[in-house]
């Protein structure tokens, strides 16, 4: 029987990691702390069922993910048609009447090198945080947590997957703009 490590050591081993994982999602440190506690408690109670097929950390993160999804599910009212229409409308803004881009998109050069830059990740986090609620949730669950379209709709109470894709398309567009103005334009700003 594989065994977990001593639960006494969990907080020092995994506390920060789980906390970081939770805090981006819930944007509230107290709530994130509660989630860490709930996760470790649930893990403690389910300790006998730890199979050791994944690492202990992966196992704990899986529990935390469920806690986050539960929380979202409980706190989410139905996503309003308004939200979806507003998302679609603002997409329209970016195009002229004939459907062409109104403004030029910046050249990001080789964006991969940004991934190695700690400041980029701070900007990335801020951009996620700036997304408005239904879009932020859709973006985080789909892009960061890799939920399927169907699960996305169930968790967020969105009536059709098509609506989920509208919100997601909009969220990605916002992320693109946010990263461009706060990172890619900044770092290449002097080259014109």
């Amino acid at each position: 029987m594989p065994k977990t490590s001593d639960p006494e050591t969990w907080v020092s081993q995994y506390g920060d990691y789980l906390f970081r994982y939770a805090v981006l999602r819930v944007k509230d440190e107290n709530l994130a702390e509660d989630l860490v506690q709930e996760t470790l408690l649930a893990a403690l109670r389910a300790r006998d069922r730890f199979k050791g097929t994944s690492s202990e950390k992966t196992w704990l993160v899986a529990i935390l993910k469920h806690k986050i999804i539960d929380l979202l599910f409980r706190s989410h009212g139905e996503v309003q048609v308004d939200d979806i229409e507003r998302a679609a409308d603002t997409t329209e803004d970016r195009f002229d009447d004939s459907g062409h881009w109104k403004t030029q998109l910046g050249n990001w050069g080789n964006p991969e090198k940004a991934l190695e830059d700690s400041e980029f990740w701070r900007v990335f986090t801020r951009c996620v945080e700036k997304l408005r609620p239904p879009m932020a949730d859709v973006f985080i669950l789909r892009e960061l947590q890799n939920l399927s379209g169907k699960d996305l709709c169930n968790v967020l109470n969105i009536s059709t997957t098509n609506n989920a894709w509208v919100l997601l398309s909009r969220a990605r567009m916002r992320m693109r703009e946010c990263l461009e103005s706060n990172w890619f334009n900044k770092s290449d700003g002097n080259e014109s």
């Binding site: 990691y17 700690s118 960061l144 997601l168 398309s169």
Partner: protein, 85 residues
């Protein structure tokens, strides 16, 4: 010919599901001649990859996203776990 507006939605959708063949061809054709939409597609793909990378970068020895569990919370959780054992 698809408009940029339509293509912007389709390249996003293509990250989530396989588009039908006729749509795929139409998008490809548009991207061949439209620099802005090609950029858009590349940038969305980049964001998609970066997002998938995000959680793997939360490791504790990485201070990119340095937020820590406060000492009070640490103590509270440790105590709660102890009571539960």
């Amino acid at each position: 010919m698809l408009t940029c507006k339509e293509v912007s939605k389709l390249v996003s959708l293509a990250l989530d599901r396989r588009l039908p063949l006729n749509k795929r061809m139409a998008v490809r054709l548009h991207l061949l001649v439209c620099k802005m939409c090609s950029r858009y597609q590349q940038q969305l793909k980049f964001i998609h990859r970066a997002a998938r990378d995000y959680y793997s970068r939360l490791d504790s020895d990485d201070d990119r996203l340095a937020v820590e569990l406060g000492s009070e919370a640490r103590k509270k959780i440790t105590d709660t776990l102890r009571r539960e054992q």
